[in-house]
Subunit: 186 residues, 2 copies
Amino acid sequence: MARKFSERGDIVPVLAEIFREHGFAGASLSEITRRTGLGKGSLYHFFPGGKDEMGQAVLDDVANWFELNVFKPLRESEDPAAGIDHMFRATVRFFNSGRRICLVGSFALDDTRDRFATAIHGYFAAWVVALEAALRRGGFDGRRARDTAEDVVAGIQGALVFARSQDDPRLFTRAVRRLQQMTAPA
Amino acid sequence: MARKFSERGDIVPVLAEIFREHGFAGASLSEITRRTGLGKGSLYHFFPGGKDEMGQAVLDDVANWFELNVFKPLRESEDPAAGIDHMFRATVRFFNSGRRICLVGSFALDDTRDRFATAIHGYFAAWVVALEAALRRGGFDGRRARDTAEDVVAGIQGALVFARSQDDPRLFTRAVRRLQQMTAPA
DNA sequence: GTATTGTTGTACCGAACGGTACAACTAAAG
DNA sequence: CTTTAGTTGTACCGTTCGGTACAACAATAC
């Protein structure tokens, strides 16, 4: 076997950052080759499906991260409040305290959504379901658990957009703190 | 004077819809000529600055609509609660009950934001300021008025993204109803 | 009628797009 | 050293991109 010069795993985070900055449609192959340092040859060697496969790989990577660092703790933490607390801290960390936007959310807005519909749908759905279950275990009744979970997940998205529009990450962290209060047992 | 065959005012709403569907980067001139029915000649006659000027015109149009239908009622309504109620109804109408995404929000996410920074910043800032003032007139103290205004504006954005990700507009309308409850006097 | 002004379609530009083909190379296995 | 599989750079493909030039047109003013 020949030695691997690069690996998909090394490239995906770079791709993610590019898609975050330019959106899926706006991310050109020339920008991708420049930032990854890989020629088209290598790029299409790792992603024979081209840009679409890169987008899918990035979404999968994000999904894995959240599954491991957010959904699973939410599901398996013995103390549901601890799981929720963990979620908020991981989320703030992931979005770099509001300086980073949500790739899935950005893909969800324009017609990019059609190509990645299941991944985008699944990401938000899994988040809401996991949070809803934790809230319910923490004493919220069914209706309120569901509503609060939706409000928190959507609220995080909105706060990212808002903070970015004002070029002020603190708007995100402050909003998250208030969302966290919504999850405290009444 | 020669007769006007078309007017900027007739074209802008079509442009808005195209930008909503494809994003700014993803909206191609060929799609624009197709949907507007105008050749490049006419297009560049009305928008000598090209796509950038089209984007600016669309943002201005949205800003005007919100100024007239949301911010002004919020500011001038004698009963602040009535102004806020008006805001929510106008907002739901504007976003077609969750079937339409927010153009400004979509522009805010990728590097399109850099070109239209002031317009995007101004849109959200004006909204928060107007809502905050109304809440304060309605009895909210300063801190709580500001926080609630931010939560509502960001919450609407997030609900639009979330609803679209799940392809379920009702997620938007339900979220808005809950946001509206947050604005009810304690 | 003619002149004027505003509007339009078409042909065209160079550049960049996403994607393909393939020969050259690297490094480990034998 | 030779083989073999994995990786890379480069040249190239047809298409589409945003944008320009301009002649032809329509409608009003005179």
